[in-house]
Assembly symmetry: C2
């Protein structure tokens, strides 16, 4: 299983944002919906072996985590607006202490970044993409792995502390610094190639 | 210079589409605006060595080509809606036989797919991404190169005929078939690595 965790530092946690303004009023939710696209879309199918955790840290009801399961997901389209709408539906759900299903393959909970990472470290190797890491092409990637990324901002100091406590592998995907959704495409391509050997 | 040509088989050629409906009413313009994002965005800058040609083949005034120059472009944001708005502005321009500037780095003309490819073959190597091509990692990519891609549909028979007349190199980027905008990310990553050596 390939897992991605993306932190949305200003991303909304209530469903009262406008779909016409996901870049501004909705705290750069556009960055996160592009990550959903990168996580799951193949040319004519969905990556069923992938799971994405969007940790939303902005707004009045933070934190919330939306989990997308490639194996179960339905009604997902590649465009930003329709994915933002699926997220809005999830944020309109009433929450208690457990994770609940918003639509097929989309789950919402009150988990924080450290809740998510503390869980994932028990089931997979944690990987931090950094410019000074080992080249991903020189690494044999394990079956169970989790990549942790920031949205348009790097991880906060506190998040980095949580992450470093997991002793993550540091990997680099190329000489230039890319948007989170673009990093995910390069990562998938390398995994596709390694698993095809 | 890295150039991409993407054909929008049903993409609009008049500016009367709604920004809220770029997936449906605007003939999958969403696919093309994601290609704009992939062509140009780095984490904190723009790829100035890249040019993108969107060949729009749908609607009442086909064909039109919108050319994006990374060196000159301004007012470009990564989200789909704002890029669709830049394209709409270009399509509202009155055209004669020459290419005209719509906004900094964005140009529009009545060029067809074959007009664009016939020009580009004189200035660069033409590359066709195909599953049965040579692995891009096993190829030394030249300085001047043009990648030709379809939107969510493959090239038409006629377009493929035009392309094959250029005797393009056939390259493959991995074992799975990806969306056009995702292919562009993988291509850029390989070029970044080769030019960094």
């Amino acid at each position: 299983m390939i897992r991605f965790v993306v932190t949305g530092h200003r991303a909304p946690t209530t469903g009262d944002f406008k779909l016409d303004d996901i870049t501004g009023g909705a705290g750069r939710l556009d960055v996160l919906v592009r990550c959903v696209n990168s996580a799951f879309f193949l040319s004519h199918s969905i990556r069923t072996d992938t799971e994405l955790f969007l940790v939303l840290e902005g707004g009045r009801d933070a934190p919330k985590t939306i989990r997308f399961s490639g194996k179960e997901i339905r009604y997902l389209n590649p465009d930003e607006r329709s994915t933002a709408s699926l997220i809005r539906n999830a944020l309109l759900k009433k929450l208690n202490d457990t994770e609940i299903r918003s639509s097929p393959g989309i789950y919402v909970s009150r988990r924080s970044f450290s809740d998510v990472v503390d869980y994932l470290r028990t089931v997979s190797e944690i990987i931090y993409l950094k410019e000074d890491g080992t080249d991903i092409r020189d690494t044999t990637l394990p079956e169970e792995l989790t990549f942790v990324l920031g949205d348009d901002k790097d991880l906060t100091e506190e998040e980095e502390k949580v992450l470093m406590a997991c002793e993550p592998s540091k990997l680099c995907i190329g000489p230039l610094s890319l948007h989170a959704d673009h990093c995910m495409i390069v990562v998938h391509n390398e995994i596709d190639r390694q698993r095809d050997k």
